[in-house]
């Protein structure tokens, strides 16, 4: 589903955000990218999503070569993917409902379908009652959950989540990760970037450890819905 070959990314000439990344993420995988602040986790996710272009290397997502900067393909990819941004990226003058619905409107679904799906997504993140509020009046955690709802509302084939629980308490974090797991079990590849090592107790199928833009190791779990987690 996602393949990266010798990918490099430098934002500035002095500094390299990512170096020689090679990885492969399959359908239905549940992947964590961990690493300290500034390691390049967000950059890695953005590359897979076409929000940034690699300096070098090849990125193939869902069969498309998105590293080549062919602008027209990227919207199509994004409509089949979901992304929880670290800074949420909600439209401040639109309501929660409208923000979430946007991800479906760009696909061109009809109003009724949109309503049904948005309600469902908001219900999953526990925000049905805040539907008509604008993001600015929401608490940090509530905003983050709106971002999550928008990312899952279009039944994405790939779900990227950048620090999706940074503003959420333990209980809601558990809920959200459970939700992601369910989505993953339907065949969606879920890629979560986080600094929060306690999330590891949620058993990813693959764990990518980053540090200063370099992959420290990729751990593949053989765990299958049991309780043990065995890094390879």
């Amino acid at each position: 589903m996602i393949q990266m070959f010798h990918v490099y990314k430098s934002y500035t000439s002095r500094h390299r955000a990512l170096s020689d990344i090679n990885l492969k993420i399959d359908k239905g995988e549940f992947v964590f990218i961990i690493g300290p602040s500034g390691a390049g986790k967000s950059t890695l996710l953005k590359l897979m999503f076409g929000a940034e272009q690699p300096t070098r290397g090849q990125i193939i997502v869902n069969g498309m070569d998105i590293g080549r900067g062919k602008g027209s393909d990227i919207p199509l990819l994004r409509r089949r993917a979901g992304f929880v941004f670290q800074d949420f990226k909600l439209i401040n003058h639109q309501t929660v409902y409208e923000n979430v619905a946007l991800a479906l409107e760009v696909i061109g679904l009809n109003k009724k379908t949109i309503r049904k799906k948005v309600y469902q997504a908001l219900k999953h993140v526990g925000l049905l009652n805040r539907m008509n509020a604008v993001p600015l009046v929401l608490s940090g955690g509530e905003q983050q959950r709106v971002a999550i709802a928008r990312a899952i509302v279009n039944d994405p084939m790939i779900l990227f989540a950048d620090e999706p629980t940074g503003n959420l308490d333990q209980d809601i974090t558990k809920e959200i990760i459970r939700l992601f797991k369910i989505i993953s079990s339907w065949g969606t590849a879920v890629v979560i970037a986080t600094h929060n090592r306690s999330l590891l107790s949620y058993h990813p199928t693959k764990l990518i450890a980053l540090k200063k833009g370099i992959v420290q190791g990729v751990f593949v779990s053989s765990y299958k819905d049991s309780d043990t987690y065995i890094p390879q």
Binding site: G50, A51, G69, G71, I74, P75, L76, L77, R78, R79, R80, A81, F83, F85, K89, L90, I91, N92, H93, Q94, L102, A103, E105, V106, I107, G108, N110, R150
Partner: protein, 299 residues
């Protein structure tokens, strides 16, 4: 499907106008004020041009006739002159009419003329040329031809004045065009850049829409509709204000104590210009959005 999509975009545009109500108000205000200035100028200069044209059409060539012209000869001369293709209209001024005209021109000195033994003034034919021949060269050529008619004594056409007139006419015209071009440019620049500022205030929204997979078409269209709407409404307000001003002004003129003003005809902008301003507002609004957005639509 297409209609549903269009409706969706219109809905979005309306929603945006509601959310950014103050900004929209400001934008529409700026647009309509620019257009008021433009259309006021347009109206004034069209009327001025109309005046000048009227004046132009009044320039005559006068053919003074020999003293001993018989009525038969006169008819012939009239016929001959009318037959020239340059001629639009002629009118005959008899010797008596010429004298009374002269007396009217000098009301204080009527005594002067009473002393004259007999009327020394000749009869004349005033010739009005067709517009297209109202220029120094053709008038001169025409005069030469008329002078050859035997009954014609002398030709009078104010050589300097005609040359000067054309220059003056051109002068006023080019002044109008120059000032008009400045105003037009200013208007277009102001409108499109105002829209640029409003788009700038919303660049994050555009970025987010791109990130959820919106095509450029999807992002642009509501902005276009908004821009077109702003331009159209701005033009509408401007024309309304212009009409109100026109109404007040002509009313005031009709009750003016200055007689010539009472008969002066000021006309409102012709329909085609009204439409032009409306369409121009729309197009500028559209282009303003179009060029402002470009920058933010790159991935």
């Amino acid at each position: 499907m297409i209609i549903r999509q269009l409706l969706y975009f219109i809905k979005k545009a309306i929603q945006n106008i509601r959310v950014f109500f103050v900004i929209n108000l400001v934008t529409i205000g700026i647009i309509s004020l620019s257009l008021i200035v433009l259309s006021t100028f347009l109206m004034i200069s069209l009327n001025l041009e109309h005046c000048l044209d009227k004046w132009k059409s009044q320039i005559n060539v006068t053919a003074y006739l020999k003293e001993a012209v018989t009525p038969e000869e006169l008819t012939l001369v009239k016929q001959k002159i009318t037959d020239f293709h340059e001629v639009k209209k002629i009118s005959f001024v008899s010797r008596e009419e010429a004298l009374s005209l002269l007396k009217d021109t000098f009301p204080g000195q009527s005594g002067v003329f009473e002393e004259l033994k007999d009327n020394p003034l000749p009869a004349s034919i005033e010739i009005q040329l067709k517009e297209e021949y109202n220029n120094p060269q053709t008038i001169k050529n025409f005069a030469v031809k008329v002078e050859k008619i035997s009954a014609v004594d002398e030709i009078e056409y104010g050589r300097i004045w005609i040359k000067g007139y054309a220059a003056f006419f051109n002068f006023v015209k080019s002044a109008i065009v120059a000032v008009g071009a400045v105003i037009l440019l200013a208007t277009v620049f102001i409108i499109s850049n105002t829209i640029k500022l409003t788009v700038y205030a919303r660049k994050e929204e555009i970025e987010i829409m791109k990130l959820v997979g919106a095509s450029n078409f999807f992002i642009r269209t509501p902005f276009f509709i908004e821009g077109i709407f702003q331009g159209l409404l701005g033009a509408f307000v401007a024309l309304l204000a212009l009409y109100a001003g026109y109404h007040v002004f002509t009313n005031w003129m009709a009750h003016s104590s200055f007689l010539p003003l009472q008969f002066m005809q000021i006309s409102f902008l012709p329909l085609k210009y009204v439409i032009l301003i409306g369409v121009g507002g729309m197009v500028t609004g559209f282009l303003g959005s179009f060029f402002s957005l470009g920058r933010y639509l790159k991935i």
